[in-house]
């Protein structure tokens, strides 16, 4: 296993290239032109320009965010998966280790993973962490997010790239989340099926059209829906409310049989997030957080405790999450 001080921050292309050429195993986030300039090596990455650095949130197109993972290149394999074979991420994963996934936003594997991952046999005993690659927010719909396999430097728009890393028996991968949101005390919302877009729902047991309910209730859709997963809060973020069509779309699916409540309002995202990060006592090998918090919370130039990493279009800690920080630690078994 690799040890010592590992890079986790913004680097110039020259610095990132040197790290890759040293044989390190890394995850890289940056714009597509920058990613194309990196040499072949044991790395995966995706398009992203928003980052949380030690100096605060920033966007950059002249540096890349490099996270060096504490594993040896010999213990790593890198795979590509389309929506039809994405479930193989579990069977291809090492017995002891972790899998790092990068999926282009809005791509078929993004939709497939969001909806189906919780049903992959063995998913929750396979440490999977990663993020959804994005684009310049002002160019949404015009530019396509990409993932990249650093071994052959091939970029993908419709396939997930996954780095599977083995760990020695005395080490374990630990994946956890930090959620600054708490469920409010308002209405309980449930859904008749798993969905990334919903029309019908039950509000406190009464049938309602979700779009009408959201509009009539004046719900602040910058706040996520929050569900209690056996003691942890899991968010699902609103993407769009189409009152004409009566449809609400989400950035991650809602699931049948789970009760959701709107999150409590947050006065200051940076302060609340920093408190949650401090409370979690994170010492992560990798962390990422959500672009929605960056935008809604005005995090540009502001820190969220000591947590650094890309601000992504979705976070993966086993399943797809929203408005949540996820992180990977390597701990003693």
């Amino acid at each position: 296993m690799r040890s010592g001080i590992l890079t986790n921050g913004l680097c110039s292309i020259e610095e990132a290239s040197a790290i890759i050429e040293s044989g390190a195993v890394v995850v890289v986030a940056g714009t597509a032109p920058l990613l194309r300039r990196l040499p072949a090596g044991s790395w995966v990455g995706g398009t992203m320009r928003y980052f949380m650095t030690a100096d605060g949130g920033s966007q950059t197109t002249d540096r890349v965010f490099v996270t060096e993972l504490p594993v040896d290149a010999a213990d790593v394999t890198i795979h590509r998966y389309g929506p039809a074979d994405l479930h193989r991420i579990v069977t291809d994963a090492p017995d002891n280790g972790f899998s790092f996934i990068v999926i282009p936003a809005e791509s078929p594997p993004h939709v497939a993973y969001a909806a189906r991952a919780p049903y992959y046999p063995g998913l929750f005993r396979t440490p999977i962490v990663g993020w959804i690659a994005g684009v310049n927010l002002s160019r949404l719909g015009h530019v396509v997010p990409r993932s990249i396999n650093g071994r052959d430097r091939r970029m993908e728009t419709d396939r997930a790239v996954v780095l599977h890393a083995s760990l020695p028996p005395e080490k374990l991968a630990h994946i956890d989340i930090v959620n600054m949101f708490r469920a409010g005390s308002g209405d309980v919302i449930t859904f008749p099926g798993d969905a990334l877009a919903a029309s019908d729902c039950l509000v406190n047991g009464e049938p309602r059209n979700l779009a009408s309910y959201v509009t009539e209730s004046g719900i602040d859709t910058r706040l996520p829906l929050v569900a209690d997963y056996a003691g942890i809060d899991v968010n699902t973020s609103f993407q769009h409310v189409d009152t004409d069509a009566g449809v609400v779309t989400f950035y991650a699916p809602v699931f049948q049989g789970i009760e959701y409540r709107l999150a409590e309002p947050v006065d200051d995202y940076a302060v609340r997030f920093a408190a949650a990060v401090e409370d979690a006592g994170i010492e992560a090998s990798f962390a990422c957080s959500c672009i929605l918090n960056y935008v809604y919370g005005g995090l540009e130039g502001r820190t969220i405790g000591h947590l650094t990493g890309p601000m992504t279009f979705g976070e993966i800690a086993y399943q797809l999450l929203n408005q949540t920080a996820v992180y990977l630690s390597i701990v003693d078994a």
């Binding site: 929750f124 997963y229 056996a230 049989g257 006592g281 630690s329 701990v331």
Partner: protein, 248 residues
């Protein structure tokens, strides 16, 4: 005289004490460096998700300039145990100095020590604390004589601690029930109270219970029970306390 403490999640209480003691003095990384305990494990312990050995606790305590007993000090009140009280849940016993000095001796009760016994003589105004983490411990109180500094003797209380049934030992020999054991189904349907401690187990448990609630056909139930058991098969080594709570 003798206190037995049974917080619902002792590891969480220990983690809270460590975090409180660290706050404002050291960062997590600094305490990890001082104690020689990895920052990852330290983070887990602080969040009540680790299962630290007594040796690890001793290293953390030393790095914080504390006695181990101070890490194990109760966050809230202390429940007194009466004569012949049977206490459940122990693994580590902090014994008072036999002469009634300040508690400071840490003893780790290991499975091999099933049947372990010790005694303490407590004089007037002296007290001992027994930290109960996991297992089952019985206390027997009897009259005794304690030595005085001038060579005389005083009336005192003897506390005999005896490990009658060692759930710690049970944990070490606990085997996962076979897949067809009905307790798996009860666990999967939420009939057995269970509070998972990892994010993976919490997510899995949530999906298992909701999926079985939605479709209680045998194939679906078997599929999700298998999923739940598969998690514990993989993480058996680090899930023994949870397994003990579920199946013990």
């Amino acid at each position: 005289m003798v206190h037995g403490e049974q917080p619902p999640r002792p590891s969480a209480a220990i983690g809270a004490v460590i975090r409180r003691q660290r706050a404002g003095r050291y960062t997590l990384a600094e305490l990890a460096q001082r104690s020689g305990v990895s920052s990852g494990l330290l983070s887990l312990i602080e969040r009540g998700r680790g299962n630290p050995s007594i040796e690890t606790l001793q290293r953390i305590a030393a790095a914080l300039d504390l006695a181990v007993v101070e890490l194990l000090a109760p966050a809230d009140g202390v429940a007194a145990a009466g004569p012949d009280a049977a206490l459940s849940e122990y693994a580590v016993v902090l014994a008072a100095d036999a002469n009634g000095g300040p508690p400071g001796t840490a003893e780790s009760i290991r499975p091999a020590l099933a049947g372990w016994q010790t005694s303490m003589i407590l004089g007037r105004g002296q007290e001992a604390r027994v930290r109960v983490l996991d297992g089952s411990l019985e206390l027997f109180l009897r009259d005794a004589q304690a030595p005085l500094e001038d060579g005389g003797r005083q009336s005192a209380l003897a506390v005999d601690l005896e490990l009658r049934t060692s759930s710690d030992a049970d944990v070490s020999i606990l085997e996962l029930p076979p897949a067809d054991d009905p307790r798996w189904l009860r666990l999967a349907t939420g009939s057995i109270p269970f509070q998972p401690t990892t994010v993976a187990a919490r997510m899995l448990f949530t999906h298992v219970t909701r999926c079985i609630r939605h479709d209680s056909s045998s194939p679906n139930v078997d599929r999700w029970v298998s999923e739940l058991r598969g998690y514990f098969v993989k993480y058996e080594a680090v899930s023994k306390p949870e397994l003990k709570r579920i199946f013990g």
